[in-house]
């Protein structure tokens, strides 16, 4: 139960921080509105979501064959493909490539998989520098933080907080709270980093098996910089990102940019199919693709939880989550926060570590309603609640049964007995009605902020009988 206590502590801290609460509320309201404006036609949106869900489901159903096809096509195009079962292996692959080039300076585009690998930490420990170039990632790297949102990593910070951070880390740059000015000063600092970097690292949004193409969605141009300027480009991705055909890309792109930030299209959509060819004047001379498993193939084995692999990482589920909006991303204590994080992280890192996350939801359904690939998030959260208290140990999820307590299990047994036996149930409610006067009106945490509900003198069962409603 330690994880619950730690989670509660982080939640407390977030809830008691009015600045943080305001930052998230404003940002989430803005993101929800943008998404809604991007899809004015609800019928068309629904059709597009069905298409998106089918494309992803199809790609997963054929994942084995598509990964082999992707590998073959990438290899034919000159992209070197590497496989990693674990994050240790993936980090090792990246380090080996750097060492082979005597490289120590890496510039990074936004990549959640590299965060999952804790790549910066790993490479820095080996004496390398890894600079994040996405503006949001750059900000949190300066402050030694982790992302609080998968699309907008620094969304928990106000511009004043960022201005102070810039001043502290770059004393030579004049203090400014103007967003455009701050953006330009980051541009200036990072431009020389792009210039100097020996290796560029990026994630992948979609990997197209048919052509061996790596697709990257971005707005800043840093993704293009990382994949164009340094002599070596390393792309890291989870194995689930493969799609079958090029024709599958446009609907997913539209769903991704629209759901994430209400854009009809991102500023850049970058499709990479090979390293620099003879005669070409720029681009990396080596391109590497690292395919990371890290429990994905295990998730794949469960016919229900497998749907979570459809995710295209748009962030809409967190933007619309009333819990995420209140507590922010860091309170989750996981890399990916919000509903999809609460589904994926416990599966990757075990229910014994993240079992509290699936309970931190009202199952209100807002996430499932907006997910562009129709992942049934509430259903999957629900499923994990079962996994963590099941006692038969026949499931596939790591840490199954780990949150089962004898006391809680007994309470539900008794509850079940009482509600499966009408006579017991009726007796109970009648007693409650009779003794309503002496039932305490402080009931645990409920009454900390609410008055206790009053038990009615007569139950509906009694009233229905008295009013002459038939029993059968």
């Amino acid at each position: 139960m330690q994880q619950k206590a730690e989670f509660d502590q982080r939640v407390q801290k977030a809830l008691n921080n009015p600045q943080l609460r305001r930052n998230f509320r404003i940002a989430m309201d803005g993101l929800m509105e943008k998404r809604s404006n991007a899809f004015p036609d609800k019928v068309a949106l629904e059709a597009l979501r069905v298409t998106g869900a089918n494309i992803r489901a199809n790609a997963l159903a054929k994942q084995l064959e598509l990964l082999e096809q992707l590998e073959a096509n990438c290899t034919r195009n000159g992209i070197q493909v590497h496989w990693a079962e674990t994050i240790e292996q993936a980090n090792r692959i990246v380090l080996d490539i750097m060492q082979r080039h005597n490289a120590s300076r890496m510039i990074k585009g936004k990549s959640m998989v590299s965060e999952e690998m804790e790549l910066n930490h790993f490479l820095e420990a080996q004496g390398n520098s890894c600079i994040e170039s996405d503006l949001g990632e750059y900000i949190i790297q300066l402050d030694h933080e982790t992302p609080s949102h998968i699309i907008a990593p620094a969304i928990h910070k106000s511009k004043q907080e960022i201005a102070r951070l810039f001043k502290e880390k770059h004393p030579d740059i004049p203090y400014s709270e103007d967003i455009e000015t701050m953006t330009r000063s980051a541009r200036k600092v990072l431009r020389s980093k792009f210039y100097e970097a020996e290796v560029g690292l990026s994630g992948v949004n979609f990997a197209v098996a048919e052509t061996g193409t790596l697709c990257l969605v971005e707005n800043e141009g840093n993704g293009r910089m990382c994949t164009t300027v340094p002599p070596v480009h390393i792309a890291v991705t989870g194995i689930e990102k493969v799609v079958e055909k090029l024709a599958d890309v446009p609907p997913l792109l539209k769903l991704l940019t629209g759901s994430a930030a209400g854009q009809h299209i991102s500023t850049y959509f970058n499709m990479i199919s090979s390293p620099r060819k003879p005669g070409e004047r720029d681009g990396p001379t080596e391109v590497h693709l690292v395919l990371l498993d890290n429990q994905r193939s295990r998730i794949y084995a469960d016919e229900e939880l497998f749907d979570s692999l459809r995710c295209i990482r748009c962030g809409a589920c967190m933007n619309h989550c009333p819990v995420y909006t209140r507590i922010g991303g860091h309170a989750y204590g996981s890399l990916i926060p919000g509903p999809i994080g609460s589904v994926i992280e416990p599966q990757k890192f075990g229910l014994e570590n993240f079992g509290v996350l699936p309970t931190a939801s009202t199952l209100c359904g807002a996430c499932g309603e907006v997910c562009p690939v129709k992942i049934p998030l509430p259903k999957l959260l629900h499923r994990l609640r079962y996994e963590q208290v099941r006692s038969d140990h026949t499931g596939a999820t790591i840490g199954q049964g780990s949150q089962r307590s004898a006391k809680e299990a007994l309470i539900w047994k008794l509850w079940s007995w009482a509600h499966a036996n009408p006579a017991v149930y009726r007796g109970g409610t009648r007693l409650a009605g009779l003794f309503r006067g002496i039932i305490p009106n402080k009931i645990g945490p409920w009454t900390r902020v609410r008055t206790a509900p009053k038990i009615a003198p007569k139950s509906l069962h009694q009233l229905a009988r008295e009013e002459g409603f038939d029993n059968e």
Binding site: V323, T359, L363, E408, N421, R448, V449, H461, R465
Partner: protein
Amino acid sequence: MSLAKHYPDKPDKVYFFGTCLIDLLYPEAGLAGMQLIKREGVQVIFPQDQTCCGQPAWNSGYRDETRAVVLNQIRTFPQDYPIVVPSGSCAGMLRHHYPEVFKGLPEAGLVEDFSQRVFELTEFLVNVLKIELQDLGEPTKVALHTACSARREMGVADEHEALLRQLGNVQLVEQARKAECCGFGGTFAVKHPDISAAMVADKAQAISDTGAEQLVSGDCGCLMNITGYMQHQDVGPQNHHIRGQHIASFLWERTNAAES
């Protein structure tokens, strides 16, 4: 997104599933629901063996414990009558989750037949009974909180509103972020009381900001949460006067000649 649902013709008889929350805390809401249906000339049967839909255990991950309770309900409503439920949340459990509870088990077919017959009260009044209401009450301003399960799982947000709009003297006001969850979530409110409190605080404020005199909801869980908070916190002078009522009680009270 409400799926195109098939509604039957007006039946002679219906079953009423009162829900355990209403049974214990808001019986007048259940009674009002039954009276609304009865007034339309339909016989209402209230089987005395009904207990709880099983959702608390189900949402806590206790699936075996849920099954025993579900089987009791299925036994209790044997005839082929529609089953009307004055709660989006419990109706959602009966209609959409019962089949999941027994997925792959021998009882699956039986459960499927049962679930097909389940209707949330407001959708039943609007789409099956095609009820027409005559407002006898004083002019009043009303805020409606539609439960997330009623809105998203049962798709009956429009039906809630349609009924209130039939009342000539009722001015329906709209609170900010009306589709956002109130923070109840059953056991969530107990397991994560602080997050729940932050959510209900915002919801109560949004409702209070509308200047409504009355809060109506189709779900007693939300009602208990929001009004419980309003009473306890005592925020703002007008909050005292916001009365919370289940939509069935509200409709019955305003349209029943004997009471007005």
